[in-house]
């Protein structure tokens, strides 16, 4: 009998697991896939290592910083700052028709950019920043409110509004067009106020440190162990049945599988399905390995968020891919002491999940190739032409994401409605991860920590 079974060995599940194992709770993480990672994973293809999900780690803080999400989570997981080997970005931008706003990990620089490009808006922008700084985004009792309404009260130029929303939505909005204000604050702080960094080795290092810490404290991890059903009796979870038919008993179950996905596993479904709608926003990502460094071609930016349309539209497109906007990421463009072995460019764009889910296998491969070419052509308006330097290409779609993470519709940011307290219709079944609502790499770990602290480690629990 376990104290807690955690479904999913992604960052949130591992973080929850580390907390429980550290305090000597018998805990087991069950993971369906053959490897750890979930939405922030990695793979090897044709002798090359690739990251999935992670472009950059947000919420950067310098070594020795005592406040903020990064130092909070390092303390909670008993990790040292050095463990994550975070190297700050070189500089990123938001590129819209006729205007480019650059930003770095120094917020004053971004503020100055806004003042230069949008002089009439700077007072409103500063008021908005103050409001964001005062908002406690970790308070689980925050109500859902429209971020666009709040931002529009401070900023009257619709283009600046869109330019602020663009990176925040691309990196963490489960909802089309608008965001919940708390979600907006989480993303604004993590991207603009704190900033980007990356370990030289990529997401593998973070995942490895998390698993090592979990195992060191006595946690058990079972791969290839998908959960078929969450078993309950009289409103209380009693354990899980694995796909193999094996039964595991537990006093609590914490699921990072997603809210709708978790409800589908319950032997007794919730009385109302309505709060558990899966998300519908997903992406296609193309990955290019180059025979040179991107900087040698003149591309020195870490991340470029681009949009060529008068308004920025964030929604599942009717076309297979929305070519108007996207994200260009070069993992090479961080301030490493030694360069990465190979040049890489990753380009990501909004995709229509339905289209990619339902293509027949042979057509799927052909369409992936066709749309990869189109994505590049679109992105080349915002970066130097690198096509003659490409030595290998890969791409993944909403279908790939669902296959490896079991998140419905390949919805990387999960359900539009977050269940912030993590509670469900079963008194000892809790949700953590994407659908609890702290997004991003750091957010996902904080989500696991918060749910473990709140429901499982409080002395009376």
């Amino acid at each position: 009998m376990y104290d807690t079974i955690i479904i999913g060995a992604g960052l949130s599940g591992l973080a929850a697991g580390i907390r429980l194992a550290y305090y000597e709770r018998p805990v087991c993480i069950v993971e369906k896939h053959t490897t750890i990672g979930g939405l922030n994973s990695f793979y090897r293809l044709r002798k090359r290592d690739h990251d999935v999900g992670l472009h950059a780690i947000t919420n950067y803080a310098k070594p020795g910083t005592k406040t903020g999400p990064l130092s909070k989570l390092l303390r909670q997981l008993r990790l040292r700052w050095e463990d994550f080997d975070l190297t700050p970005q070189c500089g990123s931008s938001v590129a819209f028709p006729g205007v480019t706003l650059r930003f770095t990990n120094e917020f004053a620089f971004f503020e100055q950019q806004v003042a230069e490009m949008f002089p009439s808006q700077i007072d409103g922008f500063r008021r908005l920043v103050t409001q964001i700084q005062q908002h406690d985004e970790l308070n689980l009792a925050n109500r859902e409110t429209s971020a666009r309404e709040i931002v529009r009260r401070a900023i009257t130029d619709p283009m600046l509004v869109d330019m602020i929303f663009c990176p925040l939505m691309f990196y963490g909005s489960p909802t089309a067009h608008d965001m919940d204000f708390t979600q907006f604050v989480i993303m604004f702080k993590s991207i603009f106020l704190e900033g980007f960094a990356r370990p030289h080795e990529g997401v593998r290092l973070i995942m490895r440190k998390m698993v090592q810490q979990y195992r060191k404290f006595g946690g058990e991890l079972r791969l290839r162990s998908g959960v078929k059903r969450i078993l309950s009796c009289g409103g209380k979870v009693t354990g899980v049945e694995l796909e193999s038919g094996e039964l595991l008993e537990a006093r609590h179950v914490v699921s990072s599988a997603g809210s709708a996905e978790t409800m589908r596993m319950c032997d007794v479904p919730p009385p109302e399905q309505e709060p558990y709608q899966p998300g519908a926003v997903s992406f296609v990502e193309t990955i290019f390995s180059l025979d040179c460094m991107p900087s040698e071609l003149g591309h020195t930016e870490t991340i470029v968020f681009y949009n060529d349309n008068e308004r920025f539209v964030y929604d599942a497109p009717t076309e297979p891919i929305d070519l108007r906007s996207g994200i260009i990421c070069s993992p090479n463009n961080f301030q490493y002491a030694t360069p990465l072995d190979e040049g890489r460019v990753r380009i990501t764009a909004l995709a229509n999940p339905d289209y990619w889910m339902h293509l027949p296998p042979d057509e799927y491969v052909a369409q992936k190739e066709t749309w990869t070419k189109r994505i590049v052509e679109s992105a080349l308006r915002f970066m130097p032409d690198f096509r003659s330097h490409v030595v290998d290409t890969d791409a993944f779609t909403p279908r790939t994401i669902t296959k490896f993470t079991s998140h419905l519709n390949g919805a990387v940011y999960g359900a539009p409605h977050k269940i912030r307290t993590g509670t469900t219709h079963l008194e000892n079944l809790f949700l953590c991860g994407t659908d609890q609502g702290f997004l991003g790499i750091i957010g996902s770990m904080l989500s696991g920590i918060t749910i473990a602290n709140l429901h499982l480690l409080k002395p009376d629990s």
Partner: protein, 85 residues
């Protein structure tokens, strides 16, 4: 365990929870919160560490006693009477 030994235990726990803080100048009569960057998650950790190390149960209504080093030590003396450091 003596008051001095209990103080040592708390110092060890604080060191684990907030390794980046300089604890040498910690004032026993001043609230932890005013001297260190501790939030509610960290206070839960003090409680949990004590439970892990000495099986001491501290109910939520008693968290107020953990305000300063002096009040924490006073509060723990009867609870750790029979414990060995």
């Amino acid at each position: 365990m003596s008051a001095d030994q209990i103080r040592q235990v708390i110092m060890k726990i604080l060191c684990r929870i907030a390794p980046d803080n300089d604890l040498t100048a910690l004032k026993d009569e001043v609230p932890f919160r005013e001297q260190m960057e501790l939030d509610s998650m960290d206070f839960l950790d003090i409680v949990m560490e004590l439970r892990k190390l000495y099986r001491v149960q501290i109910p939520e209504e008693d968290y107020g006693f953990l305000n300063t080093m002096a009040s924490t030590v006073q509060y723990l003396i009867p609870k750790l009477q029979t414990a060995t450091a």
